[in-house]
Amino acid sequence: MNTLPLILAYIGLAFMLGLAGIGSAIGVTIAGNATVGALKKNPNIFGSAMILSAMPSTQGLYGFAGFFLNLGAVTELGDALTLGQGLAVFAVGLAMGFVGLFSAIKQASISANGIVEMSNGHNVFSSTLVLAVFPELYAILAFASCFLAMPS
């Protein structure tokens, strides 16, 4: 029984789920901390600050969705998984994991800056909202690549 493709695929899945989830956890914490600080200055911005704080939570979901898609495919193929397919899952797992990790953290820094400025009385909610989705695109592309590289 050739287990190498399966080992590679499962390591890839671990990266996919783990790193993207860690990124979101760090991201929402950064933005959440900024919100707590900002509320001291201006308690009226809680609603908008909460929306911005939730922005980096999606990368973890993409990681999970990618994991779910590929896990199903890997489990279904089982021993029939080729080395190329295992390697592909490993590669997209790394890509999804790292892109998710950094995109969530960077997105959080934009959100946090927006939240701080909102607490200073500047009306930057909508512009922050638009700018904060810029880094997320790459996590979405990584998720789409998980889908494209799914073994069949």
Binding site: N44, I51, A54, M55, S57, T58, L61, Y62, F64, A65, F68, L69, F125, S126, L129, V130, A132, V133, F134, E136, L137, I140, L141, F143, A144, F147, L148
Partner: protein
């Protein structure tokens, strides 16, 4: 659509200005060119006053909210005897008093905690010890570590033993060296019973302070009206000081804009006034204010457009064009017919309970409709594929409910390309009408080129889509020709060609924009997968004896509410980015217009 404006220039004697502006304010339709920010001490004072009132209103509303939560039945409203300024004064004083009292209470509680173990004593007791020449030193040590021999060596008295700690004092005898080993602490300046009395007094004062604030919280409308009055006054003042002074400050020149359809109404008023004015249709160089005029459906999407910026006067208002796309993009990202139905029901039912929010709830309804339409392609309802529950859908291979993930992926890209082409054609038509035919050619060229590229790529996968060679060649030559020669229609041919070549570089931008639409697929699929995961978790719980189905229902409700909330955020924000970045850019939107803000008084503000 942007409302046409007419520009008015008024020439007035300086002493007439304030009176005239007051009348214009009562009329409530002329947007006088004026400063937006305070310009001198008086306007700064008014701005600060407004800030103070708004802050007090917010705090009073918070008090009212807390009161409503505390009391189930509504108490009778205690009338406020006085005007808004005295209400503001009293509320401000009470809020700061409340703050001070809360701090004092915290400090007293801490002091009581420290003083309690020392028991009850009076200030006279301490004075007596001092008058005898002794100095009192206080210590706390664990009882176990308190050496009984110390009591013989030093004038030591254990006051109390609490929680394994011994609280004791040692007297420093005058003339003797004081060398008691241990870390001294501060002896309480007041006995705990005296501190408790003080605490009681502060708490009573705080309670009456809160009661009074609760009474005042019923009168925030008085303050809101007061703020509106000051705001109108500030507006009027800024309009007055923004007048251009001429003839050694004897003449004031004012410029304002009025929607052209209200021109007659304004002129009827102006004819009763003794002043000189001229009018002309507003030009973009005048920087007229922007007032949007759209049908009821498009108006629902205006708040979304407002989140970015208003168009310039000489630009096309893109709201009617992005509105249907936004609705469908939202649906694509939400990716579930079930969630769409929830939104539609929320929109319909919500209008009954929150009539003031009718506009937003109508928007919610249409976003839900978009979700039902778009999620009907893959056929997903609450995380379940319709084809999985109704086998005939799969067997009959119906168009709806049967889109595979791969089809949705390409659909997202094609939908994006369609929006880009639509935006380019829109720019072409608009430039053709506003600037001349030459200006409209390049966008048409881009539209043809993008369509050709799309078909050419698709024909590699599906050969039946391939265009006849002659058509294909014509499309390429025409599109490239239009881009090369009309990207910058002015100047000599070699310059136009150079600029056209540079414009061709934009193909990378189009490619980037196209990829950006993959987010529609990514968000929709991720949401559907999460819904599916919660369904399988919920179903696996059904095997739990006795309470299985209850747990399943709870998990389904919890899971889908969570997915709906998270997906809605993404579905709201990402289409916004596609609109403001991809669509606006391809439609040549510059933006930066200023909103129409006529001078209004308190009375006509209320009427509006």
């Amino acid at each position: 659509m942007i409302t046409q404006m007419t520009k008015y220039s008024f020439v007035l004697l300086s002493e007439q200005t304030q009176d005239f502006l007051k009348k214009l304010q009562d009329l409530g339709m002329v947007d006088i060119n004026r400063q937006e920010k305070p310009v001198d001490e008086h306007s700064k004072e008014l701005t600060n006053q407004l800030f103070r009132i708004n802050q007090t209103v917010t705090r009073l509303k918070q008090v009212a909210k807390e009161k409503d939560q505390k009391e189930k039945t509504k108490k009778k409203i205690v009338p406020f005897e006085g005007e808004a300024p005295s209400l503001l004064e009293e509320a401000t004083r009470l809020f700061s008093e409340k703050e001070v009292l809360r701090n004092d209470i915290n400090v007293l509680n801490e002091q009581i905690k420290q003083a309690e173990p020392w028991g009850i004593f009076t200030e006279e007791d301490l004075e007596k010890i001092e008058s005898m020449g002794f100095t009192l030193h206080a210590y706390v040590q664990p009882v176990k570590r308190l050496n009984p021999g110390l009591e013989e060596k030093y004038p030591l008295y254990v006051v109390n033993r609490v929680d394994g700690q011994a609280y004791f004092i040692v007297l420093e005898v005058p003339g003797e060296t004081y060398d008691f080993p241990g870390n001294e602490i501060t002896f309480p300046s007041m006995s705990c019973d005296r501190l408790k009395e003080k605490l009681q007094e502060k708490e009573t004062r705080l309670s009456s302070c809160i009661t009074r604030l609760e009474e005042l919280s019923d009168h925030t409308a008085l303050l809101t009206d007061y703020a509106a009055g000051i705001s109108s006054g500030l507006d009027l003042y800024l309009a007055g000081v923004s007048a251009k002074k001429e003839v050694e400050d004897h003449i004031d020149l004012l410029t304002g804009f009025v929607p052209t359809n209200k021109k007659k109404e304004l002129e009827d008023f102006l004819n009763t006034e003794s002043l000189y004015y001229i009018n002309a249709p507003a030009e973009s160089e005048d920087n007229p204010p922007i007032k949007l005029k759209n049908n009821w459906y498009t108006r629902l999407f205006e708040p979304i457009g407002d989140l970015y910026m208003l168009p310039r006067y000489d630009e096309l208002d893109l709201t009617p064009y992005f509105a249907p796309f936004y609705m469908l993009f939202f649906g694509f990202c939400l990716g579930d017919m079930g969630y769409g139905l929830v939104f539609m029901i929320l929109g319909l039912v919500g209008k009954r309970f929150f009539p003031k929010m009718k506009k937003y709830l109508n928007l919610v309804f249409f976003l839900g409709l978009g979700s039902v339409i778009m999620a009907a392609f893959p056929g997903i309802i609450f995380g379940v594929k319709v084809a999985d529950i109704i086998p005939s859908v799969k067997e009959n291979n119906t168009f709806l409910f049967n889109f595979s993930d791969m089809k949705m992926f390409w659909f997202a890209i094609l939908f994006g390309l369609f929006q880009i082409v639509f935006a380019r054609i829109l720019t072409g038509i608009d430039s053709f009408i506003r600037k001349g035919w030459q200006h409209g050619m390049a966008p048409f060229g881009w539209a043809i080129l993008i369509v050709w590229c799309t078909i050419a790529y698709a024909s590699m996968e599906v050969p039946s889509l391939a265009l006849p060679k002659s058509v294909s060649l014509t499309m390429v030559i025409v599109s490239v020709g239009l881009i090369l020669f009309f990207s910058k229609p002015e100047g000599p041919v070699y310059k136009r060609l150079g600029k056209g070549l540079w414009a061709m570089y934009d193909i990378t931008g189009v490619f980037g924009d196209m990829l950006s639409y993959i987010r529609l697929f990514g968000l929709g699929t991720a949401g559907a997968i999460l819904g599916m995961v919660f369904n399988s978790i919920a179903l696996s719980l059904s095997g739990v004896p006795y309470v299985g189905w209850l747990l399943t229902i709870i998990m389904l409700l919890f899971g889908h509410t969570l997915v709906l909330a998270l997906n809605s955020l993404g579905a709201f924000v990402h289409p916004m980015r596609l609109t403001f970045v991809e669509f606006y850019k391809n439609a040549g939107f510059t933006g930066g217009g200023r909103g129409y803000k006529p001078l209004t008084s308190l009375s006509n503000k209320k009427e509006q």
